[in-house]
Amino acid sequence: MNNHEKWVAFYTILRREIRRFMRIWPQTLLPPVITMVLYFVIFGQLIGSRIGTMSGLPYIQFVAPGLIMMSVITNSYSNVVSSFFGSKFQKNIEELLVSPVPNWIILLGYIAGGMCRGLGVGILVTLLALYFTSFGIHSIPVTIAIVLMTSLMFSIAGLINAIFASNFDDISIIPTFVLTPLTYLGGVFYSINLLGDFWRDVSMFNPILYMVNAFRFGISGITDINIIWSFSMVGLASVVLFLFALHLLEKGSRLRS
């Protein structure tokens, strides 16, 4: 394949991915919006007004960046995991496997699809947040960079999950038992400075904490941790996960019998 053909193949995968989540928008776009409205109403307005401030910010302004990040993470991840596993399950992944598309293009195509959904939902949720409260942007580059990198990382992770999955339970185990707890404990709803030393140290092992804090720094300039760590961690993890996913595709494990 020459470069133009590779580009066409990449674009084809991306177009198909976007078409998929747009077609089933009541399953892909609507639920995160509804959940986020509830979060904003309950944590932001009802309870938030009694909490007062957190790290010097009105509570709703404190949670908003975390909630945006949370929807980017879950939507990037679940788009790739369900789309890729779905095509394994229906066997239409074979359409790609018999074609000359190189594995790294397949990988990039699915990642780009996951990022489109993750970022798309992120934008929707941001608009919602702006309806409930108002905030400016402290640093545009930091905000954009961290949200792109986070979306990238979780899209790759979703693909790896889908490659290993052999039934529908396998694609909900990680989101339910790993992703959700890590997000809830990842500084979305509270500053880790509220925790005792021990739990604060434990929290430092939670990668989502770094992403949420970097994003909150981008928006409001407030963070619990040094954002250099955030970028190094997300960057490194993305590279490692990308290479691992590529290795799995090259080996054809669980895809070619």
Partner: protein
């Protein structure tokens, strides 16, 4: 010698559960050929096809398409192959037109060219009216044709069809045969597997029979049919009889009160048989082949192979 469209050399496949599906098979398919790969269920046909189009990883051996190795020249090789798998493997929630344009995109074909080609093949295969339906709502025969259109969208030189006419009605089967014959005439090499031996006999020029992961016959259809040393005919009688007639040189069974089955050796003529019938005052109302000619050969061969396997196992 001309470049073969497909060349398989000492191909072996051992599945992960250590089941040996193919045992060192070798096969050449000539450019422009219409080739039948026959064999009973579980013989290893789909495994072979899976390896050719890289859905199945081979354990050992070499496969090349127009001399492009499927491992080292995989991009060129894949451009040359179109495959119609045995099982439906498209996204049931997508529309036929999208499935085709997407598949073309995987081959680097832009969507304007792909849309034109999709229209051409959907029309030729009688699916144009259904282009915007959910493909899961197509009938079984339509789904098969959709997969044929999908396999042709990048205009491959070698088309491989794994039981393309399974579950397709007679009329449609004939129109599919015509379609495939046309494609073959225009220069595409075709390999197909089928369980309808009539189909192989009327379409294919060369044939390989595979059984228990081994090729037990690989020859031209003509020379294979020549091997047939006897044929069984069924005769319907005008009257009912209770005693089976005896005629020298033929083995006869009374399958019903007014039906005879006669095995006729190649050396004997039908005239002789009819003369005997007249002598014995048996009047015949109709006659037909008991089975397709190829079927008789096929069953004979597979049974022989089974016996030799048994002997080896014991």
């Amino acid at each position: 010698m001309e470049t073969p469209a497909l060349s398989i050399h000492n191909l072996t496949k051992v599945y992960e559960d250590s089941f040996k599906a193919l045992e060192s098979i070798s096969l050449n398919v000539k450019k422009g050929d219409f080739f039948a790969l026959l064999g009973p269920n579980g013989a290893g046909k789909s495994t072979t096809i899976g390896i050719i189009c890289s859905l199945v990883r081979k354990t050992e051996g070499k496969v090349s398409i127009f001399q492009y190795d499927v491992d080292t020249d995989f991009s060129t090789a894949k451009h040359l192959i179109g495959v119609v798998p045995q099982e439906f493997n498209f996204n049931q929630f997508e529309k036929p037109i999208d499935i085709l344009v997407t598949q073309a995109g995987y081959f680097g074909i832009t969507s304007d060219i792909a849309s034109k080609r999709a229209e051409k093949y959907l029309k030729q295969l009688g699916l144009w009216e259904k282009r915007n339906d959910f493909s899961r709502n197509l009938s079984g025969g339509m789904k098969r044709r959709l997969m044929i259109a999908r396999a042709l969208i990048h205009e491959p030189k070698l088309l491989i069809l794994d039981e393309p006419t399974a579950g397709v009605d007679i009329e449609l089967r004939r129109s599919m045969w015509n379609f495939l014959t046309e494609i073959n005439k225009s220069g595409t090499t075709i390999i197909l597997t089928t369980h309808y031996l009539e189909e192989a006999e009327s379409l294919c020029r060369n044939i390989a029979i595979i059984d228990h992961g081994k090729i037990i016959e690989n020859t031209s259809m003509k020379s294979l049919l020549k091997k047939l040393d006897k044929e069984t005919f069924v005769f319907d009688l005008a009257q009912e009889i209770s005693v089976c007639p005896k005629i020298k040189g033929y083995s006869i069974t009374l399958s019903d009160q007014n039906q005879l089955e006669v095995e006729i050796p190649k050396s004997e003529s039908l005239n002789g048989l009819f003369a005997e019938f007249s002598k014995q005052k048996l009047s015949i109302v109709s006659m037909r082949n008991k089975t397709n000619r190829l079927e008789e050969l096929f069953i004979g061969m597979v049974e022989k192979n089974l016996e030799s396997e048994k002997i080896r196992d014991e």
